[in-house]
Symmetry: C2
Subunit: 336 residues, 2 copies
DNA sequence: TAAATTCCCGTGAACGTTCACATCAGGAAA
DNA sequence: TTTCCTGATGTGAACGTTCACGGGAATTTA
């Protein structure tokens, strides 16, 4: 059926090992032989069997460079909102520059629902590692780690007792930046739009808020499911109640929903209410008014994660989990 | 190091084959033995080696039920714009309902740049098929088909001489719907925002336009790279030239950019210019004004593709390429 | 009671590689 | 000449499975 290394060897009148060495390109083969073998390989359409290769060479991971890792998205990642798309893009780009190949897998709602699918991916081949995007529990990470030895967490909390590397955006500083900016603009009655209470970004937001709490007349928190729709509804409800705020802070998706609601309510932004987002997703630049926001280099986030993974593969320092921080910066547009 | 099937067999006092059979769950093993082996497997933390498995069992693709296929995104897919995210979601959902597992791979700019990465994925295991999202050339499809026997094309042109199934949105009808709607609203000077000239959606747009051309005073076409940014620039440029239109049609991403530019130019939408999009991406509902658009059920697109693939796997009718069409419908909001 | 059937289970071989080691020619150093 | 090295290639074994058999005990059928 398919042509094996032995077929090539026979036809090229050398041993299997020589063919292997030719593929390895380490210059230990006579140039003339090299050429001949190469020609035969091409002519016969030889394709190395990754399975056999994986089995024998275990962790050496050179060979074809067919080095795959899983890019696993957490249940909290609303891929459609643009943030995680960019993270994925960054990761893919970095991976492809280094000859790695990412396999994307998306978490379903629960661990139980997702695990079988992950198992499938794991069972397909021994991956060289996994990049976890978003929030995962210690248990989840531990389970994943059993199959993909090397694990990097991006944009989510990395349990301290586990040997995982992590890349985080500097959420707390970023939130502080946002709130400070609102403060500078004279905001005193602040509405915070946040995600579910147990979400790590919600918590980052809260701790930033607490830092400034005393400067505000009032600060209210509204939990959402991170959709623009919910944010829109929240604003309508809150305004109907007669609560008036002069500043709103939430991630871009939520802020965009808020902006839309405020337009319906004929509330002038930024004159009456100032709105600031977080993430700097692509659409934030095209809203009306354009959204002031905290910009995170999402591609960098993905890129650094993959780079971290590669480091772990290259060197064998599995014991020294690195933590990288991506800085956040303020982008002033029209909504403040 | 790692525990093999033999270790389990020894400890459970059975043969390797029995362990294999236990994993296969085909009821050919005595219940008592089954339990014992299971217990030992768990206790020893046995994980089957996918490599060895892949090598030996080649194409039988039962075993764990780890049935994977590749979800390949074309170079034309701006994942970040929300359209293809939803397609992916739909595909994933359908896949997971049927015990399949999608591996996402994203095309780089060129075939040459992407091929090695695809090779990696293919080489990792024999996939049961591939879903191609977006526009691929015949050559590309043919190459892919060599590795993933079953191929379904979604939202892109399916070469007629190739045995591929396809799922398309009804682009031409959809575009006609949009243009008819503009016509109904009294538009007579139309600006079309479209993608690259050789893109299949651009072409669908054009053929719809031609159908109605005689009804308009003027119709101009502007090619873009499908980014809101470019659309924004185009509008500014066109308006600066003094060309005035009373209707604009392009996909949502482009329309959103146009909307933003018109706001800058203080052109009232829909009073002065009516804007209609295509796709109904999530953000289209939150723009100001909210974007009237042609809605495509993107999840359905992905779902049908996977369903088609499953059909091809179940039945063996590789010779009867099915073509499904997803209907488009008009969603009237505020921009017209 | 013999023969046939059914239910379980085991054995050896093979899959396509790579690893560790062996071989072997030819030239340099002693 | 002998010894030692170096560069180029070959050999047998092993990796962890699964497949195609084969076989024995228990049960049914003739």
């Amino acid at each position: 059926m398919s042509v094996s290394i032995l077929d090539v060897a026979l036809k090229a009148d050398v041993s299997r090992m020589t063919v292997t060495r030719v593929m390895r390109q380490d210059g230990s083969v006579n140039a003339q032989t090299q050429d001949r073998v190469m020609r035969v390989m091409r002519q016969m359409g030889y394709v190395p069997s990754p399975a056999a290769r994986a089995m024998r060479s275990k962790d050496k991971l050179r060979g074809t460079g067919a080095l795959c890792f899983a890019l696993i998205f957490g249940a909290d990642t609303q891929l459609a909102d643009g943030f995680f798309c960019d993270v994925a893009r960054g990761a893919e780009q970095a991976a492809s520059e280094h000859g790695l190949c990412p396999l994307q897998v998306h978490w379903q709602n629960t661990f139980e629902a997702s695990w079988p699918r992950l198992q499938s991916v794991f069972s397909i081949s021994s991956l060289c590692g996994a990049v976890l995007v978003g929030q995962f529990s210690g248990r989840e990470i531990k389970n994943i780690q059993q199959h993909a030895k090397r694990v990097v967490v991006v944009d989510g909390p990395a349990p301290e007792n586990l040997p995982v590397a992590s890349v985080e955006s500097d959420n707390i500083s970023g939130c502080k930046l946002a709130i400070q900016h609102l403060l500078d603009r004279g905001v005193r009655r602040l509405l915070i739009l946040t995600g579910p209470p147990d979400h790590y970004f919600s918590q980052a937001t809260l701790s930033a808020v607490n830092y400034f709490r005393s400067h505000f007349e009032r600060v209210d928190i509204a939990n959402t499911d991170y959709t623009a729709q919910t944010a829109e509804a929240v604003i309508h409800k809150v305004w109907a109640k007669g609560r008036k705020y002069d500043g709103i802070f939430g991630n871009d998706e939520l802020s965009l929903g808020a902006l839309r609601a405020l337009a319906d309510l004929q509330v002038k932004v930024p004159q009456k209410v100032r709105v600031i987002g977080f993430d700097d997703i692509p659409h934030a630049a095209f809203s009306h008014p354009r959204l002031t926001t905290i910009s995170i280099d999402k591609k960098q986030l993905g890129r650094e994660a993959v780079l971290g993974l590669i480091e772990m593969v290259r060197g064998s320092h599995a014991l020294e989990p690195v933590k990288k921080i991506i800085r956040a910066k303020l982008v002033i547009r029209e909504s403040t």
